[in-house]
């Protein structure tokens, strides 16, 4: 269904040829993209070399400039080595699974979501579904019940919990965890859709007792709607493939995405009450549930992994207003959970710790670097900050090529310019997010 959301693309002999070429063995190697990407990385290295050479005593700026490139490029490099050994996988490994779907006012989607879960490729007696109607004002409850009946015909148990008063997503998730008796707890957002084999791909990692959580690769289902969604598609792709991939090398994915992640229930249940009453600066935390849940498991010493072959499709905001709100919410929870994670990250793999603290410092410093480059520099030297824009663009093109190669999608260029703009303008949202971090009005989705 989500695949069909794509707009029909213009077909010319050239696009036909290109599509054919991309399908050939040689085309799949993406030799041109790889070459361009490595040439650009070489350019980045040269710029860093010159930065060192022209060092004028500005330690902070030099550190930032070198560290940011090092960090960004290191994601691709580290993720390249992520591979969980096949020996741990076993098709006969089928622990019991509970799907938790807390939802509010999702009458339109909830039936489809539940039925998709019911149809997955997994032994019917090994999984059940818990849906929570969290004080909906529309026909969500009716739709849930209809789905429960239809699923029962397929041999899948669906438990419907109805709350008249809205309690929030976090309480819904906690209720699912408490109600379930399965080994694995799997959360799927009500606006996200999984494929038939997503479950198996997510769960196979739990063979390893150290693994506490896994997260699926999230694609943007409406990527072809407009430039904004296309841009998010590129960012999502790199965020999962490179960032979560790199974190997985150390078993430390810092955020198991809310769109589709699996947790070992036994590990969660011990910390559930603490999670429910989590406060930050005296305010109960009502958003960023995915990140905080992951944090709890990581703190307890369990591993969190990214499952590249488990696919989930989600709908990304397609207008600026929604997008900005979502980003603000994410930035608040990112900052909050990073502060909490800093308390234990140093105990994890040293490489992981370094890159974690580095990312924290760099992201918080970014708005000020932007200010310096875009306001202070032109005001002082009366010159266009071309060097800065060039650097940002260079990085974005490298990201775009990475997306082009691994996602095998030719339409990445526009998104690259969007991303460049995003990295510059949106960095200041973080300052606003931190300043208003106690305000949780946008807490519910």
């Amino acid at each position: 269904m989500f695949k069909k959301h794509r707009k029909p693309r213009r077909t010319t002999p050239l696009t036909k040829f290109l599509r054919w070429w991309d399908s050939t063995t040689l085309g799949r190697l993406h030799l041109t993209s790889w070459s361009v990407m490595f040439i650009l990385i070489y350019v980045v290295l040269l710029i860093k070399f010159v930065n060192f050479q022209q060092f004028d005593g500005g330690w902070l700026l030099l550190f930032y400039s070198v560290a940011v490139s090092f960090y960004l490029l290191s994601r691709f490099f580290v993720a390249h080595f992520y591979e969980v050994h096949d020996e741990t996988f076993d098709r006969d490994y089928t622990p019991t699974v509970t799907f938790g779907v807390p939802s509010k006012n999702e009458a339109e989607n909830i039936y489809e979501t539940v039925m998709r879960i019911a149809d997955i490729d997994y032994p019917k007696d090994k999984f059940d579904i818990i849906v929570i109607n969290d004080g909906s004002t529309d026909k969500t409850l009716e739709e849930m019940q209809r789905a429960a009946t239809d699923a029962k015909d397929k041999g899948v148990t669906v438990k419907v919990i109805d709350w008249e008063i809205n309690q929030g997503k976090r309480h819904g998730m906690a209720a699912c965890i408490k109600e379930s008796s399965s080994e694995i707890m799997l959360f799927v957002d009500s606006d996200s859709f999984i494929e038939k084999d997503t479950t198996r791909e997510l769960i196979k990692y739990f063979r390893n007792p150290k693994v506490g959580a896994t997260t699926a690769h999230c694609f943007v289902a409406n990527e072809d709607t407009n430039l904004l969604t296309k841009m998010q598609a590129v960012r999502y792709f790199v965020a999962f493939k490179a960032y979560k991939g790199a974190e997985s090398v150390f078993g430390t994915v810092t955020c198991c995405s809310g769109s589709c992640s699996a947790y070992r229930r036994e590990y969660l249940i011990k910390h559930i009450d603490e999670w429910l009453s989590q406060k930050f600066l005296g305010v109960i935390c009502t958003y960023g549930d995915d990140r905080s849940l992951t944090n709890i498991l990581l703190r307890a010493g369990y591993d969190a992994l990214y499952a590249p072959n488990a696919k989930v499709y989600t709908f990304a905001p397609d207008n600026m207003g929604q997008y900005l709100k979502q980003q603000l919410r994410w930035k608040k929870s990112w900052f909050r959970e990073c502060v909490r994670a800093s308390a234990f990250m140093w105990r994890r793999n040293p490489f992981m710790s370094i890159s974690f603290y580095l990312a924290l410092i760099l992201t918080v410093a970014a708005p000020f670097i932007v200010l310096k480059a875009l306001v202070w520099y032109p005001a002082t030297y009366h010159r266009f900050p071309g060097y800065y824009f060039f650097g940002v663009l260079l990085m974005c093109v490298i990201y775009g090529l990475y997306y082009r190669i691994y996602a095998n999608d030719r339409r990445w260029l526009g998104a690259v310019f969007g991303s460049a703009l995003y990295s510059i303008l949106m960095s200041w949202q973080l300052v606003y997010a931190i300043a208003t971090i106690r305000d949780s009005r946008w807490g519910t989705r």
Binding site: L45, L46, F49, F81, Y82, T88, N208, V249, L305
Partner: protein
């Protein structure tokens, strides 16, 4: 150590693969990039200063390296004269003014290399001139003026491929005083050039490459003129002129000593202008030359038409040295012939009477037909002259020439030319023969004998110089002799002049020139 009966207790739960398939490509790419950064670091200046048109130089140097894997041997025979070439900037497209296109420059260097030429250092050149130390045949000194970035970066690949070295005359005020420029070489670049081992750094001037006010409105070259002091509304005094010139010469020398730690021994006068073209101070040349002489053992000027010789001679000890400046329309063949036609000639010598042999024509016209060299006054000149290049180191020699003079009042044979304005001459008129001495354009008759000569008939004219004695005559006899000023520098040289009091009315036809060692 495992017991085969017990099942493996642990599974492989690693999250990373360090297999060859993943490590090898990255290692290779890492090495390539590491080398790339190293390569950039090593060649940073040339990469940063690269201009697309330099590709011609790089292409030619690669081609040459591929086709000439072995460096040709240096000739074992020695030479008595050395040509010095001067270039300025190396530019894209066509050669223009003093700038040479990269293409022409590259072709000229390749042509020289293929013809067996090789370069020498300024140090070798100095020893050749002052100590008489021999140099192999086909040696030449390659020089660049102005210290421009393009002349370095565009010539470097060619020089490296051909194993040539060059001398750069730098404007120290532009290059060695910490100013940054996209046009002139920087201190770092100059140091890198010295370090490369095939560049010699010498002085062009400190601040004298610009034009300065010579009156309220006009500007003119620094060295050739007295400057106009605007605030005092007057010209410099003689002393002020001398002090200014001296300060610049000594300053440029000090700059090089300070920055490079070596003492320059050569100075190239900006624009080759020592006041011979236009000057508001008649003694400029004299003062300048004496200042140059005391600051630098070697001064380089361009061998313009007025200069009798293009090359420089072994053991000459002359402070003034001549450079050949390739003109924009010269191709490599023209350049080679400019060098070969000015090579030192040995005695006895018989001329081919062809202009291409090396006859320079500073005044009027000269043209050759088989067996004849004709001198003709131009439409606005009262005569014509021609001098034979490559004769500068003849010491005692006897010239015997057959000529008839259809038009004109006098015919002169020039000897002992120190420059275009200073020489000895045998002067023939229909009524007498005299020995003349010319210094800075002023002639004095030292001795004269009344002899009648039929100009229109073919006659044998002779001129003999031995030590300080010059003897002249017709019909194979020496008729008149004189001892010239013994304080004057001895030099070789051979030239002919025809003259008449009215313009466009002098012509001489030379049918035979033979020179032997004077007995």
């Amino acid at each position: 150590m495992g017991d085969p009966l017990v099942e493996k207790p642990t599974r492989n739960f690693s999250y990373r693969s360090l297999g060859l398939k993943r490590v090898l490509p990255l290692t290779i790419i890492g090495l390539v990039m590491g080398f790339g950064v190293y390569f950039y670091a090593r060649h940073q200046e040339s990469i940063n200063n690269f201009r697309p048109y330099y590709y011609q130089a790089y292409l030619a140097s690669i081609k040459y390296r591929l086709s000439h894997p072995v460096e040709p041997a240096v000739p074992t025979l020695t030479t008595t004269s050395v040509p010095v070439l001067v270039y300025h900037g190396l530019i894209p497209g066509q050669s223009q003014g003093q700038d040479t296109s990269v293409e022409s420059f590259t072709k000229q260097m390749l042509a020289l290399k293929n013809a067996g030429y090789h370069t020498i250092s300024i140090e070798q050149y100095y020893k050749f001139i002052y100590n008489g130390e021999a140099l192999p045949q086909k040696s030449f000194l390659l020089t660049f003026d102005d210290g421009r970035k393009d002349s370095y970066y565009a010539s470097e690949p060619v020089l490296e491929a051909l194993n040539f070295r060059a001398t750069m005359f730098v404007i120290t005020g532009k290059s060695l005083e910490g100013l940054s420029s996209v046009y002139y070489l920087s201190e770092n670049e100059i140091k890198a050039m010295v370090k490369s081992g095939h560049w010699d750094m010498q002085a062009h001037t400190r601040n004298g490459h610009d034009e300065y006010p010579i009156d309220e409105t006009n500007k003119a070259p620094f060295f050739a003129n007295k400057l106009w002091l605007k605030d005092q509304k007057r010209y410099e005094t003689n002393d002020e002129y001398r002090d200014r010139v001296r300060a610049d010469l000594v300053g440029a020398k000090a700059d090089i000593q300070r920055e490079l730690g070596t003492t320059p021994i050569a100075f190239a006068v900006p624009f080759g202008d020592i006041g011979q073209n236009q000057s508001n101070y008649s003694d400029a040349k004299t003062v300048l030359l004496s200042e140059l002489k005391s600051a630098y053992p070697l001064t380089f000027l361009q061998a313009t038409g007025g200069q009798p010789f293009s090359q420089n001679y072994i053991g000459s000890k002359l402070p003034i040295n001549m450079r050949i400046e390739p003109k924009p329309d010269w191709d490599s063949i023209r350049l080679l012939s400019a060098i070969t036609s000015s090579d030192a000639r040995s005695l006895p010598y018989k001329s081919t009477l062809q202009t291409a042999e090396g006859w320079r024509t500073p005044w009027g016209n000269a043209f050759s037909t088989p067996g004849e060299l004709t001198l003709q006054a131009g439409a606005s000149t009262t005569g014509a002259s021609t001098t034979l290049d490559g004769t500068g180191d003849w010491s005692d020699y006897a010239v015997s020439t057959t000529a008839h003079i259809p038009k004109g009042s006098s015919f002169r044979i020039l000897l002992r030319q120190t420059d275009g304005d200073s020489y000895m001459a045998c002067s023939f008129t229909p009524t007498g023969i005299s020995v003349q001495q010319t210094r800075n354009g002023t002639s004095v008759t030292l001795n004269r004998v009344a002899v009648s000569t039929n100009f229109t008939a073919s006659n044998v004219y002779t001129a003999i110089v031995k030590g300080h004695t010059v003897a002249c005559g017709t019909g194979g006899k020496s008729t008149v002799a004189a001892i010239t000023d013994p304080g004057l520098q001895r030099a070789g040289g051979l030239g002919f002049v025809v003259y008449d009091d009215s313009t466009n009315n002098a012509e001489g036809v030379i049918t035979k020139v033979e020179v032997a060692v004077a007995e």
